[in-house]
């Protein structure tokens, strides 16, 4: 298991090299750079721009820039400095990453907390009204575009006043007790988490339903019934435990996609996360900030998959890695 994990972490290295190279290349291909936008400002003199250009290393060929960036990363774990924020990249990213993690985790909780019981209900009540209703909403959930759903929720929040309209904290957040602060953030979190969690919820629900229906046909379920167990025990202890395994693998994967897929929600609903930061950085050609975000996103993807593998080993005694 340990060697397996180590091997998986090591596969991260070529992946990150490929992804960062691609990102660097694409940003280089983009016309202009961060400073050419600044140069349009008449308040800043041409000499200043030139001085900054050489300070930032933007006057060198792109492969030299990429090489320097790689060298700094490997030798000093230095990911460079954001042009716009004038701060080390990770100082800018860290709080945003934290916010995105909160959002992604909450969405995962929403998705899994609803998908699994609903999927089980749907399978146990196959073709009854509970199943038909749940399946219908799952189909809607899979089809509703995030942008539209997010806007719709914002409209609802604005009309009813039940939820804050966007953002992560109230204006008077800093004057609150820490318990109230927590409630405040949770209150802001509900709608973004719902919007972000809907698609994975619908997908996992359908999967859970299909898996459980398959498992309920298996011999060991009949064995459990023949033992005289209560139907609830048969379903929950014997069938669900097995039907859930393939989904456990997906948990890590979902987490990874949520982390990278959250930026529509972040932008529309004003959640100050990594996604909106990355978009800004990309549009401003804030080179090293983009690179930092890309590294984080890809790492999350791999870590998510790794978590998935570990969870699967814990859940299924038949599976062993060495």
């Amino acid at each position: 298991m340990r060697t397996y994990l180590l091997r998986r972490v090591l596969t991260l290295v070529p992946l990150l090299l490929g992804v960062t190279f691609l990102a660097f290349l694409l940003i280089y291909l983009a016309p202009g750079d961060f400073l050419s936008q600044m140069a349009e400002n008449p308040m800043i003199s041409a000499e200043t721009i030139e001085r900054m250009r050489s300070n930032f290393g933007l006057d060198k060929p792109w492969y030299v820039q990429y090489g320097l960036w790689l060298k700094n990363v490997f030798l000093h774990l230095d990911f460079g400095e954001s042009f716009a924020f004038r701060q080390p990249v990770f100082q800018v990213i860290a709080p945003r990453l934290g916010n995105t993690l909160i959002l992604a985790l909450a969405a995962a909780v929403v998705a899994w907390g609803l998908a699994i019981p609903l999927g089980i209900l749907s399978a146990v009540k196959q073709y009854k009204w509970q199943d038909k209703t749940a399946s219908f909403f799952a189909f809607l959930g899979l089809s509703i575009p995030e942008i539209f759903f997010a806007l719709l929720m914002m409209y609802m929040a604005a009309k009813t006043g039940w939820f804050p309209v966007g953002g992560m904290r109230s204006i008077d957040h800093d004057e609150m007790q820490w318990g109230t602060q927590l409630v405040d953030i949770l209150h802001h979190l509900v709608l973004p988490a719902l919007v972000l969690g809907t698609v994975p919820m619908a997908a996992r629900m359908r999967q859970m339903r299909a898996n459980l229906l398959d498992v309920l046909r298996l011999d060991y379920v009949t064995t459990a019934r023949a033992k005289g167990l209560d139907e609830d025990v048969v379903v929950w202890k014997h069938a669900v435990r097995n039907a859930i395994n393939p989904l456990i693998t997906l948990f890590g994967f979902t987490l990874a996609t949520l982390l990278s897929g959250s930026f529509i929600v972040e932008i529309v609903m004003g959640w100050p996360g990594l996604g909106s930061l990355t978009l800004e950085a990309l549009l401003k050609q804030d080179l090293y900030l983009v690179m930092g975000s890309v590294v984080i996103a890809a790492t999350m993807l791999v870590l998510g998959n790794l978590i998935a593998d570990v969870l699967l080993v814990l859940a299924d005694p038949r599976i062993k890695y060495d």
Partner: protein, 364 residues
């Protein structure tokens, strides 16, 4: 009895199965309707795409009335006037009725199917009244008309994008599976790289490598290229997997023994067998392309004003004040939802029809 079934062509069997699913038929019907509306947008839309009326910004949907003084008088509207410019509130002017006229002559000429010049539009009302079926935007442009014109961009981009992805994916995936070795290795690493980056990040990064302000027609091409560049990877992997299993089949060996060349075997004997599955995969993938365009345009880095797209029409709704008081600005989003739903319905129906799983009865 069984011969009767076997006599039917695959298409007949497909159609018989497909017809059984009301949901799939509804999906297909909705899509035919919407694509038809996109083609005949000029005729169906009462306004040209970019026509503004700055005095009537954020006008709510005009109610079409049928009765006056308790009598049926046919469809008509009342004129309205601005009350508060800050809040964009309007008041209807009682009195004069303006009937909804059909087959009216518009001011701007257009060509039906790009060929026949005409001024005729399906309906309209005489000034000073306005018929805003779905309300108007900031510049007093008719949301209903812009929705129709925008559908040309938003709906076609999905089809063209998937067509390109489909071609590249089938060709590259097919060759990769059939040739194997070095070609396969390179192709698979490239697809892995493309698929390991979250799609939206890749779309944005690719978008960033193009200039930010380009004319709409070029932007359309850029978006198609970006979406197709990302989309071919997963299709190629599907095709490759199927080709790998198919190329060992007897009939492929038979074709090879008869001296058929690589490409001939691939195109005549292997790829046709992957088609039904690919059609389903492609149908389900179209919404992804549509949403790709919508997202870019929504973020302001896709289709630019004044060209309408379902994405950039939603941009204004990001403003919470607009969203709260002018909820009709959300209508394009609702249509995106309907289109995605219709494609998913259609995809489900196609998957069932192309792969009929017969339900078996009880067994002993």
């Amino acid at each position: 009895m069984t011969t009767a079934v076997n006599d039917r062509s695959p298409w007949q069997i497909f159609w018989r199965e497909f017809r059984k699913s009301p949901v799939a038929l509804a999906g297909a019907g909705i899509l035919i309707l919407l694509y038809g509306a996109a083609i005949f947008a000029d005729f169906l839309a009462p306004w040209p795409m970019a026509q503004q009326d700055l005095d009537f910004g954020y006008h709510p949907p005009t109610p079409v009335r049928w009765f006056a003084d308790g009598r049926f008088v046919g469809p008509h509207v009342l004129a309205s006037e601005l009350v508060d410019i800050g809040r964009s509130t309007y008041r209807t002017i009682p009195g004069e009725r303006y009937p909804v006229r059909f087959f009216v002559q518009g001011r701007q000429e257009y060509r039906v199917l790009g060929l026949f010049p005409t001024h005729t539009r399906l309906f309209g009302v005489d000034p000073p009244a306005h018929l805003y079926l779905f309300g108007s935007d900031k510049y007093g442009r008719d949301t209903y008309s812009r929705l129709l014109y925008g559908s040309r961009v938003s709906l076609s981009i999905g089809l063209i994008g998937i067509a390109i992805s489909f071609l590249i994916g089938t060709l590259v995936g097919g060759l990769s599976g059939y040739l194997g070795k070095g070609f396969d290795l390179v192709v698979m690493r490239v697809t892995e790289l493309i698929m390991s980056v979250p799609a939206l990040y890749l779309i944005l990064a690719l978008r960033a490598s193009f200039p930010s302000n380009v004319p709409s027609d070029r932007m359309y091409l850029i978006i198609v290229v970006i979406l197709a560049f990302i989309g071919w990877a997963s299709l190629a992997r599907i095709v490759r997997g199927m080709v790998l299993s198919l190329r060992e089949q007897e009939y492929v060996n038979a074709a090879r023994a008869l001296g058929a060349g690589t490409l001939r075997i691939l195109f005549r004997h292997i790829l046709p067998n992957t088609m039904s599955f690919l059609i389903v995969a492609a149908t389900i993938a179209v919404p992804g392309y549509i949403l790709g365009e919508v997202t870019l345009s929504f973020l302001g880095i896709g289709i630019q004003e004044p060209q309408a797209s379902w994405g950039n029409m939603l941009t204004e709704a990001q403003n919470i004040r607009v969203l709260k008081s002018m909820p009709w600005m959300l209508i394009p989003g609702f249509f995106i939802f309907i289109v995605v739903l219709a494609y998913n319905f259609l995809g489900d129906g196609l998957a069932d029809a192309l792969n009929p799983r017969k339900v078996t009865g009880g067994k002993s």
